[in-house]
Structure formats: structure tokens, C-alpha cells
Amino acid sequence: MTIRSNAILEVDGLERRFDVSAPWLNRLIERKPRRTLRAVDGVDFVIQRGQTLALVGESGCGKSTIAKLVTGLHPPSDGAIRFHGDRDRLQMIFQDPFASLNPRWRVGRIIAEPLRTLRPEMPAEAVSARVDELLRTVGLAPADGLKFPHEFSGGQRQRISIARALAGEPEFLVCDEPTSALDVSVQAQVLNLMKRLQREMGLTYLFISHDLSVVRHMADVIAVMYLGRIVEIQPTKDLFANPLHPYTRLLLETIPDLEAPKRDRAPMGGEVPSPVSPPSGCSFHPRCPLAFDRCRRERPERRAEVLDRRVACFAAEAEAGAAV
């Protein structure tokens, strides 16, 4: 185990399998085998204190499962998650601010909940003072604490979620698509707020998103996921300047670009295969323009000798080898 002085979270060989077999009787009668879905399949990464690591990828790539593993909502099937901090100071912000706030509770009670759980000894006046302070921190008014969630817009509700997450003075926040349910102008408000809070409180974020432009704005390091694996991980600047994996290039190629719209694009064909029966070798090979024989047989790993463990791709390895 390598201990990096400033790492707050280290994830090694993380795996999470789900049993998606048919019911026992069907398996018996129809002789169907057991089936496992590897939602997370050997994932390693390190997050430095005070930084933002973003996980990006399309639906079903396993990014939200990683969020649940890191927060302890699911136990890992294999591998290790080492958190060098106080477990009580790890919080989560969810995607849907309509589903993550109890509609029958007043906002003040929602925000105070972590305090009541983590600091039961805290006197009531101190709790309510802290709630008022938190509401102001996220740009709401102390009077808003008396209202119910339905009285707020989506953006304001996400501010309430953030206030709740901040209540226990966290050092590490797992944010699963925190702005995907919001309109762009409101998204900008929430992203700016999250960046300000990170600066002021020295927070570390694990930021999960499918939106590369949001991730570019928020992250120091970006990990691109495909079918349960990290295919590329690079500092944000490097990833955008020099994407190494063909899948990252495909993603960058296909996102609509406001500043340089590609109006006559020829979109790349193919779809994400089912994670229950992923392709052999590199799971991206059926869609990859650079695939050769080895990609169909062998699974590429991120290796220390090749581009500093930044990419899992035989074609990129060959390219790098030729460049050296």
C-alpha cells in the first residue's frame, strides 16, 4: 500500500457484483445459469485533500455505484476503500432534490437532522443558530427554515440539500449528479456555490456527472468510466488537451458544442453493450475505430510503465511507445 501524504481517499481494486439471476424456480426448470452483473469491475483511484475528482460516463457505467460504495450504502464485493478521515465527516448530495428531502418535514428540521444524529449533546438553541447560519451560507434566509420543501424551486431545494450535507462540518462530499435535475441558469448558481464552499472550507469532492462541460468546470482530475472500469484518468487540463482513450475522444466528439457547433457531424455508431455480458477483451472494442486483434482477446489495464497509469488501451500504449 502506498501512502500518499495528502490523500483523503484511496480506492484499490474495487469491485461490486450484483446477482441478476432469474428466480430459483426458473433457473431449475429452464436450466438458466446464475448471472452476475459487474457494476464496478476493478477500479483504482486516489483523491487528494481539497481537490475534486470527477467520475464521468454514460448511464450504466457504474459511476453511481461507486458513490454508494464510497459512502457505505453498498458493501464492496472485493477491493478496498481507505478513507483517511473521519467517517462522520463524509456526506452526500443526491441528484434529485425532490426525492431527497422529506416533504413532511420543515426545512429547519431537515438541515438539523445530521446535527441531532452526530452531536446529540448539542443544545437546541445552538442547533437552531447553526441551521440559520447554514441557510445563509447557501444563499437562503433563516426564515426559510420554517417552510416545507414544496415551497421551494429545484435550485433552492438543492441548496437545502447542500446545507444539510454541510451541517456536520464534512471534509469530504460525494456529489451524485448534483445539478442534472436543474436548469442551466440555476445549475450555474449551484456550481458557483459548491466551488465557493470548497475554497472556504477546504472540502474534497467526489463529483459524479455525465456532463463533460460541468465536469471540466468543477474537477481537478477526471476519471472516464466505461462498463464498470476506469478507462482513462487524467488531470482535467490534460484530458481536454490530449484525450488518450478512444472512448474519451468519442465522448468529446459527440457532446454538442455551443461555441463550435458541428452541424454536419457523422455521429459514431454503436451503443453501450449490456454490462451483464460485456464483450471479451477490452469492452470498448466493438465500437472502437482503433481496435485490433489483441483488444478482442486481452483486457488492457492501466499500467505504471505506460503514460503513468493514465489510460487502459493497447492502441494508446502502442502510440506512446512509438512516440518514445
Binding site: 442551466v184 440555476v186 450555474a188 458557483n192 459527440t254 457547433p261 457523422a266 455521429p267 451503443e271
Partner: protein, 325 residues
């Protein structure tokens, strides 16, 4: 001008509620020509989907068209009764919605759904309709049509299902397609495939398309013209490049600035303070005035309006008259 397929004039959609009448769409006028894709953007609740639903004649009661007119290739359609409108829908106007599963019946094979729709709107017999269904499936890019035609919707992926829905919308060669967030439920790589398909079909057949979406990137790459809605009103209309690069309405300008860039880095995103007003609390004058950095007394008094046939322009006193006093 004979090539105008859709002509909406001064459309007003109201919802009577216990607390009073809410105006969800307020005096909207727009035109779409043959082969043109008009993008409708705006934030949730701005009225863009409601405008699409009014055109399709699918407003949920008690919502109703309170004023204005809708013409399809010269024929007035907003005054038709339900049965007549059903004839127009499907045959002359196709619809594509966000979630393909709500447009497809899960209990029927996709081929049967296509055949049923084709036979409803054309004089083809069963065998001819099936051949036509296969042609349509090929056209929207479904591989192995001979096998896939007898599959059920759940056997298709999300992107493939949306292709089937597009094939359904095309069955009767409609003059107009209303596509409401057709790619929002799809991943980016699939999204690009679907918008490219929509664009190609529209060009080849001369179909007019109303593309409703909240995603400016999709609009920038797909639409010819764009209409920006805010609080039930049109804020700005114009050719897509002009609206994206040189927005004239302060709301459009703020909207563009708040989208994180793929090309440059900024410490802070520009943001519009506050939120869009609720329908029961729209301020007097310009609906955007409380959030606008340039608002003056006139903006708080008088509602700025676009001309009913404006090809381009902004509903803003500052943009049109240069003064807000």
C-alpha cells in the same frame, strides 16, 4: 408565402385554478417553414412544452387555448373538435416525446404498432403496410429489420426505441413533427445519432420540425432558427447562430453565459440571480425585469412584445428602443 407549414398567431394558453386563471403561454407567435427546424428553448416551466401540446391539441384539461390561432399549411386546426384533431394528429402532425416507452405499447410487437398506425392513416393493405413498416425501420437505422420487426419494445435499447418512435411519427408523411425533448433521456453518444437522424429526415422530406429542448447545445447543432421562451412569453427569436453568438435579450445572454464551456476555463460561471417567477407571480411589465441588470422604469410598466411575424428579434425595450426610461 406558401411554404409556411405552421403559423401560430398570438397563442394564449390558460389554466383556470381555484386561485385564479394562470397564463402558461402568453401571446406567442411563430412560423415554421417546410424543411425548417425551429428550436424552442427555455427553462422548465417556461411554456415551451405547453406550446407544443397546444399545437398537438393535447392540452390536459382544464388547460385551454384562450386566444390566438394555429394554422397548419393554411388550415386552421385550433378550432377542430377532438375527432377531427385526431385525424390531423398522426397524419399531418407527428409527435415524438422524451420517453419512448410512453409512446409505445409494451404489449404489442413494434411491427404491429407500425402497421396499425400506417393502416389508420393510409389505404395500404396489411402486407403493403408491413413492407412499408420495414422500409421505415430501415430508414431510421434499425439493423436486422426482418427479425426486429417482431420484437417487443422492451427488447430494444433506449436509442433504438426512440428510433421506432420516430418511425411511428413518420408513418403518414406528416407536414410537421413536434419533438418534445426527444434526446433528453438518452446518453450523449446516442443523442448525437438521434439528432442527426431527425435532421436528415427533415431535410429529405421537407418536414417542418418544432424541436423543444432545454439543451442549447442540441439546438446549436440541430436547429435553423431558435425561439427562446421565458415565463410563458417569447423572449427572443432568430437564426440559431445569431441567438447563440450575439444574443439580444438579456435573458438569452445570461442563459448562454451560465453554460459551462468546453473550451475555456473560468473561476466563476456567470449566473442570472434569482429564479424564473411562478405563473401566479409574474411581475408587471417585462417578466424578466426583477432579474435583469439593465431594467428601467419602462420594463416594470409595459410588456415588451415581438411582432407576430418577426423572423428575428428580442422582446426587450433596451434591444428594440435602446432605452428603458
Amino acid at each position: 408565402m406558401t411554404d409556411i407549414v405552421l403559423d401560430v398567431r398570438n397563442l394564449r394558453v390558460e389554466f383556470p385554478t381555484r386561485k385564479g386563471v394562470l397564463t402558461a403561454v402568453d401571446d406567442i407567435s411563430l412560423q415554421i417553414r417546410r424543411g425548417e427546424i425551429l428550436g424552442m428553448v427555455g427553462e422548465s416551466g417556461a411554456g415551451k412544452s405547453m406550446t407544443g401540446m397546444a399545437i398537438l391539441g393535447l392540452l390536459e384539461p382544464p388547460g385551454r387555448i384562450a386566444a390566438g390561432s394555429i394554422h397548419l399549411s393554411g388550415d386552421r386546426i385550433d378550432t377542430l373538435d377532438d375527432r377531427e384533431m385526431q385525424q390531423v394528429r398522426g397524419r399531418r402532425i407527428g409527435a415524438i416525446f422524451q420517453d419512448p416507452l410512453t409512446s409505445l405499447n409494451p404489449l404489442f410487437r413494434v411491427g404491429d404498432q407500425l402497421v396499425e398506425t400506417i393502416r389508420l392513416h393510409t389505404a395500404l393493405d396489411k402486407a403493403q403496410a408491413r413492407a412499408r413498416a420495414m422500409d421505415l425501420m430501415r430508414e431510421v437505422g434499425i439493423p436486422a429489420v426482418e427479425e426486429r420487426i417482431d420484437n417487443y419494445p422492451h427488447q430494444f435499447s433506449g436509442g433504438m426505441r426512440q428510433r421506432i418512435v420516430i418511425a411511428l411519427a413518420l408513418c403518414a408523411e406528416p407536414e410537421l413533427i413536434v419533438a418534445d425533448e426527444p434526446t433528453t433521456a438518452l446518453d450523449v453518444s446516442i443523442q448525437a445519432q438521434i439528432t442527426a437522424l431527425l435532421k436528415r429526415l427533415c431535410r429529405e422530406r421537407g418536414t417542418a420540425v418544432m424541436l423543444v429542448t432545454h439543451d442549447m447545445g442540441v439546438i446549436a447543432e440541430t436547429a435553423d432558427r431558435v425561439a427562446v421562451m421565458y415565463a410563458g412569453r417569447l423572449a427572443e427569436v432568430g437564426p440559431v447562430d445569431d441567438v447563440v453568438r450575439r444574443p439580444r435579450h438579456p435573458y438569452t445572454d445570461g442563459l448562454m453565459g451560465s453554460i459551462p464551456s468546453l473550451r475555456s476555463e473560468v473561476e466563476e460561471l456567470r449566473m442570472i440571480p434569482g429564479a424564473m417567477p411562478r405563473l401566479d407571480a409574474i411581475p408587471p411589465g417585462c417578466a424578466f425585469n426583477p432579474r435583469c441588470a439593465h431594467a428601467g422604469p419602462r420594463c416594470r410598466r409595459e410588456v415588451p412584445r415581438l411582432a407576430a411575424t418577426a423572423e428575428a428579434g428580442a422582446a426587450c425595450w433596451l434591444a428594440t428602443e435602446g432605452a428603458v426610461a
